[in-house]
């Protein structure tokens, strides 16, 4: 189809154009220039999100490799494969990478890709801020791993407890790199969170009232709030730690009125919600996949939304259960035991609603649904051990053993990675325009499920037998060799399942079956547009009349007009009812967010060595921000 796009030197509205001319005009207005400045100044939420997801998956590869080396070391007793110093760095890098560089960014930025599409928006709110967030994330992650390659890898665990992480016991720069990496990634997550919240509140298509928002969007929305209130805590904590180390403040130094437990409180006030920051988007993916493959709306929409919100709130009331072994007052322990058990209630409600949906539908067992079923099994098992360790006497017994390692891998991999893998198979056709191989997908699932359970189930028993976590080896007489070998075999299988995923993705991207706009026959709006979606997402903004617009509007999707096409315009609607309020101008690409991220990165990096880096770097950051906000042309107004 070659359509003549109208000249852009005057105001043109979409309503005056036929379909072909409209698409041609929009393609020209919304295209990113193919140049270096266009590339680093990207504002298309889909492209930025894809970079985020691929970068996070790259960090998954690094973090996973660290885990494999540890598993090989532990496969037999008294192994000399690696020494204690490297082992310390590996488990710290593994945990830090998986939490800060893989899980949070990947779960949040799949939302960055799909939330605008699912709410019928053309763009995310504040796309330049989101681009800034990407570069901050990339720089922070690279900094941590380059430091590791130079033998300066984090080595005090992913939660870097003081006094171990204080200058006295960790005199090298390893902890400082860890602490500054935290700031990079949290700035990034917070920026994306604000953007997602405003996208959901203000950029929903007309008619998408609160009770018509897709569950995945609800999950990302609630999640963004949890990020907003949890992450500042770890930023403050890591900043205080680096201040203690760099300019000799005394926050954590007991001899000068400081307090070591203060670190634990600050860390876990973030660290526990962090678990839910990873899990909540996973539940959104599960709801989306189950509805599509059960071919019916999700059972219990309202309880599911309320469960998400309840989980968000309750996640802030649990942090002390990570500190049961520190000798807190009994009343505190009882309170946090109760709240830890309470959070099983909303999780249970969700599980029952999903089962009911499958029960009442006609399930089609494609790969995404297989991963969701795997999720239900693994996550429930992890939840069971969670209820066990919520009880103080059991926790004291198994604290710092492999039982806990088994528990949190069951909830984190079960609760987040399995839904994520399902989501990759589910949305791959939307992103690339091609379907992944179902045959390889089934193998992928089988290998992942078997490998995961083989790797982590034995760790429950090892923990009960007394094997502590974070030991680089163990004597043969303790009899832990067999189960450890089994766990290592499982870990290798689990790793192989990811290799299969890569093979499937690459071959399908090249020669997979063409997907069309809605290969699964799903009901939500991201399937209304082409695969892959054009830069402007929707040629005309949909008018939403139900929760699953593509199911209720069988013949033709109702759409609205009124936007200009000679510049980037998008609708802004009211927060609750989604009544149209404004035609808002969306921003053009800009290199300044990249420049600001570069200077911010250099400043944070420099501050590892001297506090004067902040003084030296601030003017540059300020200049970049001025460049960012200063309008460039009258058209931008």
């Amino acid at each position: 189809m070659t359509a003549e796009a109208p000249p852009l030197d005057r105001e043109i509205r979409d309503r005056d154009l036929d379909d072909a001319a409209l698409r041609a005009a929009l393609a020209r207005t919304w295209a990113t220039r193919s140049s270096l400045s266009g590339w680093i100044g990207e504002v298309d939420h889909k492209r930025i999100a894809l970079r985020f997801v691929l970068t996070a998956l790259f960090f998954l590869l690094l973090g996973g490799s660290a885990a494999l080396v540890m598993r090989l070391q532990l496969a037999r007793p008294e192994s000399g494969l690696i020494g204690p110093d490297l082992y310390n760095q590996l488990f710290s890098m593994h945990g830090t990478t998986m939490m800060f560089l893989f899980a949070v960014p990947v779960m949040e930025t799949i939302g960055l890709y799909f939330v605008p599409l699912m709410v019928g928006a053309r763009q995310v709110a504040f796309p330049r801020l989101v681009n800034f967030a990407y570069w901050m994330f990339l720089f922070g992650g690279l900094m941590l791993w380059i430091a590791f390659l130079l033998n300066t890898g984090a080595d005090t665990g992913w939660f870097s407890y003081v006094p171990l992480s204080s200058l006295q016991y960790s005199p090298t720069k390893r902890v400082d790199f860890w602490a500054q990496m935290v700031t990079f990634t949290e700035v990034s997550s917070l920026a994306v969170a604000v953007s997602l919240i405003v996208t959901v509140l203000k950029h929903r298509a007309p008619g998408m009232t609160l009770d018509r928002i897709p569950l995945f969007v609800w999950a990302e929305f609630v999640n963004a709030f949890v990020i907003m209130f949890a992450m500042p805590s770890v930023m403050i904590a890591s900043t205080l730690l680096i201040l203690d180390r760099l300019v000799e403040t005394r926050f954590f130094e007991t001899s000068a009125g400081g307090d070591a437990l203060l670190w634990q409180h600050l860390f876990w006030f973030f660290g526990h919600p962090e678990v839910y920051i990873i899990f909540i988007p996973g539940t959104g993916m599960v709801s989306a996949i189950i509805a599509t493959f059960a071919t019916r709306p999700v059972f219990g929409y309202v309880p599911l939304v309320l469960a998400l919100i309840a989980t968000g709130f309750l996640s802030f009331g649990l942090w002390v259960h990570h500190m049961f072994a520190t000798g807190l007052p009994k009343l505190g322990e009882s309170f946090f035991t109760a709240s830890s058990m309470l959070i099983a209630v909303p999780s249970g409600i969700q599980i029952f609603c999903w089962i009911a949906t499958l029960w009442g539908g006609r399930p089609r067992f494609h790969t995404p649904l297989l991963f969701v079923l795997g999720f239900v099994f693994i996550f429930v098992a992890g939840g069971m051990t969670g209820v066990m360790v919520a009880s103080v006497p059991i926790d004291l017994q198994v604290h710092d053993t492999f039982f806990v390692v088994a528990h949190f891998h069951y909830v984190l991999i079960g609760g987040a990675v399995f839904p994520l893998l399902g989501a990759i198979y589910y949305w791959f056709p939307k992103v690339t325009g091609r379907l992944m191989s179902e045959r390889l997908g089934a193998w992928n699932f089988g290998l992942a499920f078997a490998g995961f359970n083989l790797a982590f189930f034995p760790m429950h028993i090892l923990g009960l037998q007394g094997m502590p976590r974070r030991v680089y080896t163990y004597p043969a007489e303790l009899g832990w060799g067999g189960l450890n070998l089994l766990a290592t075999t499982g870990a290798l299988m689990f790793a192989a399942s990811f290799a299969l995923l890569v093979v499937n993705a690459v071959t399908s991207y090249r020669s997979g079956r063409a997907a069309g706009s809605n290969p699964w026959g799903a009901g939500t709006l991201e399937w209304a547009t082409a695969s892959p979606p054009p830069p402007y997402n929707f040629a005309l903004t949909p008018l939403v009349t139900s929760r699953e617009p593509l199911w209720s509007e069988r013949t033709a999707l109702p759409v609205v007009t009124g936007l200009r096409v000679d510049r980037r315009e998008t609708f802004v609607t009211s927060p609750a009812e989604a009544r149209p309020e404004l035609r808002d101008m969306a921003v053009e690409p800009s290199i300044w967010p990249f420049v600001a991220a570069l200077f911010s990165g250099l400043t944070l990096f420099g501050s590892i060595y001297t506090p004067w880096a902040v003084v030296a770097g601030s003017p540059f950051i300020a200049a970049a921000l001025v460049g960012w906000f200063w309008p460039k042309s009258a058209k931008e107004e």
Binding site: I236, F251, A256, G258, L543, E581
Partner: protein, 200 residues
């Protein structure tokens, strides 16, 4: 899927004030997360005060003069701030061009006093945990002030250019004024913690 055009919204305005504008919500989002950061910093201070039998530790409480003057100045700034906000919302470029520099000055003046405040804390950051806590609280708010004054100055300059007359710019001025209220508001608990809690 085919489309059917059911409504036209060409008549909608292309900018708006307050909760109509996405930027207002973005500003509110940043207020929330920064407010959380301040809350955590305050909780840290109170936690340290709670675990230490003596508070302040080996120090006289801070002198009141500079900090109290800053507080008075910040509270007074709310009046011109709201005059500016109202001017922006009636889109009066003349009034905005007068009141933006006034608000820049109201932002800069506490920064001058802030220099003396650090001197009047009567303790260094590296003396003990109490010293660290008050320096960090004051430092956080100083960063907050500097960024907002910087923002106000740039926006004030922008109002004198050809870009100043756009409706969106007036909306920015209104949001900037809204953010300034937040800067003033966060100071009040910090003032109590830094200057009055040590006197309890």
């Amino acid at each position: 899927m085919r489309e059917r055009r059911v409504a036209d919204y060409s008549a909608l305005p292309d900018y708006g004030f307050g909760p109509k504008s996405p930027m207002w919500w973005g500003t509110l989002g940043f207020c929330a997360l920064e407010g959380m950061g301040f809350a955590i910093a305050c909780a840290t201070y109170l936690y340290l005060a709670f675990v230490n039998p003596e508070w302040p530790i080996n120090a006289r409480p801070p002198d009141l003069l500079a900090g109290t003057l800053v507080t008075i100045l910040l509270l007074a700034s709310v009046v011109p701030n709201h005059i500016l906000k109202a001017a922006a919302e009636r889109e009066s470029i003349r009034a905005v061009r007068i009141w933006m520099p006034v608000m820049s000055a109201f932002g800069a003046a506490p920064l001058v006093l802030r220099w003396f405040e650090f001197g009047m804390l009567n303790i260094r950051w590296d003396s003990n945990a109490y010293g660290s806590a008050v320096w960090v609280l004051l430092g956080l708010h100083t960063t907050h002030l500097i960024t907002d004054v910087g923002d106000t100055l740039v926006l004030a300059a922008l109002m004198w250019t050809r870009f100043g007359r756009s409706g969106k710019r007036f909306s920015d001025v209104s949001d900037n004024a809204f953010y300034w209220d937040f800067v003033v508001l966060t100071w009040l608990p910090l003032y109590v913690l830094i200057y009055w809690v040590p006197r309890l």
